[in-house]
Symmetry: C2
């Protein structure tokens, strides 16, 4: 029996909507922005900075970072970038939430953070670029001076680098997920129903 | 509406069983071994050789191979390995089958061969090594002098090389599939039901 659903997603593929549907149908908690809010409260950084940090890989050397991660933040805090501190706080928050009660967690390398748990169901959501472009324009609107193509490329690149930096794994390797769905072809409602069936 | 389901699979992940279930539930044709039988009939090679060729990448240079592919086999047949000739015949058989009627096709790069069709639903099936080892021993039994670990590694490596050689794409990139499922966690029956729901 799986208690925690993690959702990794390409920008514009509808991972947030999918996660929300699953949480509602299963009657369990849903965490996306809420993790940012908690990290804001704990770190004292601004919400904008924490949100941004969630998709920027830091430049701290991985060795130092992993040292800090295994010895608590404070031990090597002087050597850590603010991005890394936020990652560490978010990872702890994710573990606490997963311990507390069944939930759906979107993004923030939750699949990796919770990799030692046997009760996670890991999903990756992707779609063709046309579908994603359409959805991004619907949900977020246009940004002056930046094409939708550039926005997709930029976000995907950030997510790929962020994941690689903090997990030392490539982003979007299908073997790391129990289920991957293309929401350009599979309606989000159908994918949500499947996830509920899989974890029940 | 999707007419053709292609199933790519790790060795021992149950792709054959899954495909068969889907074909039965949808009441459409199922092709796995049958493609080999047709290729045997057309090429005159032995069944064993054609079966083996289905997972060996040839050593023909890709340039020559693609030249032959675009100009029909006979044009450059002298430069083609027997493996390549079999691939080309199988690819033509796959296209003919997909043209003829709705069907499920397992393996043989069918996702790639049919990549220009809009009516394909592409699935990749994988599982953790323990699940696959158990299934391989159940279905095929032990092989003297070869550990189950070696057999898994060998088959996966062959499939990866074969796919790469003939498609120039990496094997198992999730973006190439509409759905990927881990059958170590998702029962094959459930995955079959989902595929039927998706293509209906």
């Amino acid at each position: 029996m799986k208690r925690v659903v993690t959702i990794s997603r390409e920008f514009g593929a509808g991972g947030h909507s999918l996660g929300k549907m699953v949480a509602e149908q299963l009657g369990i908690a849903f965490y996306d922005q809420q993790i940012i809010e908690r990290a804001v409260a704990e770190t004292g950084f601004s919400p904008e900075f924490v949100k941004e940090a969630g998709e920027y890989a830091s430049t701290t050397h991985s060795f130092l970072f992993n040292l800090a991660l295994s010895h608590s933040v404070s031990a090597a805090a002087g050597d850590l970038s603010n991005y890394d501190k936020i990652y560490i706080v978010q990872a702890r928050i994710i573990r606490e939430l997963a311990d507390k009660a069944p939930c759906v967690i979107v993004g923030r390398c939750a699949d990796y953070v919770l990799r030692d748990r046997e009760d996670c169901f890991n999903v990756f959501v992707h779609a063709d670029r046309e579908t994603r472009a359409r959805r991004v324009l619907e949900v977020y609107g246009e940004i002056e001076g930046k094409s939708i193509e550039e926005r997709l490329d930029e976000k995907d690149k950030k997510r790929r680098l962020y994941y690689k930096h903090y997990t030392d794994r490539d982003w979007g390797i299908l073997q790391n997920y129990h289920l991957t769905v293309n929401t350009g072809v599979i309606p989000t409602e159908l994918a949500a129903k499947w996830i509920c069936e899989a974890v029940k």
